[in-house]
């Protein structure tokens, strides 16, 4: 999957989990936890939505590296 599609999948999932986040103007470096205030349940839901839309089911050992919007985009782009 190219980066544009991956980004759009990530933003779509984010809109669902955190409807108050303005996904269009989002800084790719925004941190999921500190900046977007996603808790661990939100994070799990985000991964679930991404798995459904892109087929990429993140492994638990990779959670620690998935800290920003961009890291999620890269992760999905590399695997889908």
């Amino acid at each position: 999957m190219n980066e544009t599609d991956a980004r759009s999948a990530v933003l779509q999932a984010l809109r669902e989990v955190a409807p108050d986040v303005e996904a269009e103007d989002l800084d790719p470096g925004a941190r999921l936890r500190q900046d977007l205030e996603l808790d661990s349940l939100d994070f799990l839901r985000l991964l679930e939505l991404l798995a459904a839309s892109t087929g990429v089911a993140a492994q638990e050992e990779d959670y620690a590296s998935l800290t920003t919007v961009q890291s999620l985009v890269d992760y999905v782009a590399a695997r889908a």
């Binding site: 808790d39 661990s40 349940l41």
Partner: protein, 459 residues
């Protein structure tokens, strides 16, 4: 048979309003059936019936704020007791254009038409403001409404343009409409009294998506929609403000009445997290555990073993609870928090607790909690650690007597049997009520949480 009354949905609730009926007059309701959505100052909740029978009529208007204990609907024993309603054959009911806060409400106040009559009039499509009453002091009676209905639809009132006033709609419908960009005024409602409900909005949005060619951008919104969006934002702001007031008054009461004491301990989570990773390795994403599930499981089991932490302080005395209904503090996006209960949490395995947690958090954020979830917690856990802090000393939710807090899981140097290693640890805290327990019992509780987390396979 007694009326259904506005229930108390928490110690701090004084009034509420019905925002959506989930049953219609003529429906048979069982005890425990969900009958309405009620808006308290804190959230919107579904309430259930305490009676069994046929719902005869509504006694309050949608959107009318009434004190706790006010009758909101009448239930009769058998269908024969129900007053004559509309014919059994389906009739086309146009969407109800009367808005509870609009001009109709003003007229209603002047004429003092009782809500049951007004409801009957809505059902029969009669405008009560345009018929002459034959009751005492010119009051409109049931017979007047029925006579007007048989005389023909709204002959006395000119038809109003549909866009003049928004149709009646449920909060979920308004929220969805806002999210999906659907104009509520264009929809025909299928809910009670023709109210626009969530499914109507969803259908409308789906229909529009099908019509739209792939890749096309949404049509620019009409000028009027901007005002709707602003109205929605204003309502959201008002909700946040009233939630903040409700939290403030509850917490002030807690600090005024409860002599808190606070304890803290640091717990090694390496066994718990290792066990969790092994479990998760075989599980699909949707069933994976998060550390919070283990912390909740351990807290619930410890509360079962230290009864002084689990129960309610009411009328000057502590009433321990046999079951552990674990309140979970849920931060709402946009501000504020609610702490609904996971029932009988001490009996749930971590996996079950995890799905209960996901369910209750999702519904709390969507404003779809049930009455018992708000009023039942016997002890509450707050898990602020997810968002970064290392420890949290909470304020007890009166009339509960203890609040457990967990901070962030962090890696720290940790000495075991003279050797130094790096371990994931969490700071667990307890705020407890000195009228019920002392530090010794509180300490026992936290020590138990620690012990339980060292044997996660037994949770």
């Amino acid at each position: 048979m007694p009326d259904l009354r506005m229930p108390s949905l928490g110690a701090d609730m004084e009034r509420g309003k019905v925002v959506e009926w989930l049953v219609r007059p003529g429906d048979y309701v069982h005890r425990g059936d969900l009958i309405a959505e009620v808006d308290t100052e804190k959230t919107v909740m579904e309430i259930e019936s305490f009676e069994e029978g046929v719902l005869a009529e509504y006694l309050v208007e949608l959107g009318q704020t009434v004190p706790v204990g006010t009758p909101i609907a009448r239930v009769t024993g058998t269908p024969a007791d129900v007053p004559a309603g509309p014919p059994a054959t389906p009739i086309a009911t146009p969407p109800d254009v009367a808005s509870p806060d609009g001009a109709a409400a003003t007229a209603a106040a002047e004429r003092a038409v009782p809500p049951p009559i007004r409801h009957l009039a809505h059902r029969l499509d009669v405008d009560v403001d345009h018929i002459d009453g034959t009751g005492p002091a010119g009051a409109v009676t049931r017979a007047d409404v029925e006579a007007a209905a048989s005389a023909g639809p709204r002959s006395s009132a000119p038809p109003e343009p549909a866009a003049a006033r928004p149709p009646r709609s449920s909060p979920r419908a308004r929220r969805l409409a806002d999210e999906l960009g659907v104009d509520l005024a264009r929809l025909t409602g299928t809910g009670p009294d023709g109210a626009v409900i969530g499914d109507d909005v969803r259908r409308a949005a789906e229909g529009r998506l099908e019509e739209r060619p792939a890749g096309a951008v949404p049509a620019p919104t009409a000028g009027g929609d901007g005002a709707d969006v602003r109205g929605e934002r204003a309502r959201a702001a008002e909700r946040t403000a009233s939630l903040r007031r409700a939290i403030g008054s509850l917490m002030a009461r807690s600090k005024r009445e409860i002599p808190h004491y606070y304890l803290s301990t640091t717990i090694d989570l390496s066994s718990a997290l290792e066990w969790m990773r092994d479990e998760n390795a075989d599980l699909p994403l949707a069933e994976r555990l998060v550390p919070a599930a283990l912390l909740l499981a351990a807290s619930a089991r410890a509360a079962k073993q230290v009864p002084e932490m689990n129960g309610l302080f009411v009328d000057g005395a502590f009433r321990p609870s046999d079951a552990v209904h674990l309140g979970v503090a849920v931060a709402l996006r946009g501000g504020g928090l609610v702490a609904p209960a996971i029932h009988d949490a001490e009996r749930l395995a971590p996996g079950e607790l995890m799905s209960a947690l996901r369910d209750v958090v999702a519904r709390a954020r969507a404003g779809r909690l049930r009455r018992t979830e708000m009023s039942d917690p016997t002890i509450t856990v707050t898990n602020l650690g997810d968002l970064g802090v290392e420890s949290v000393f909470g304020v007890i939710y009166a009339p509960q007597v203890a609040l457990v807090g967990f901070g962030r899981v962090v890696e720290r140097p940790w000495a075991i049997e003279g050797l130094l290693g790096v371990r994931p640890v969490v700071t667990a805290t307890l705020s407890a009520d000195h009228r019920v327990s002392d530090g010794l019992r509180g300490g026992r509780f936290l020590a138990l949480v620690d012990e339980l987390l060292q044997k996660p396979e037994e949770l």
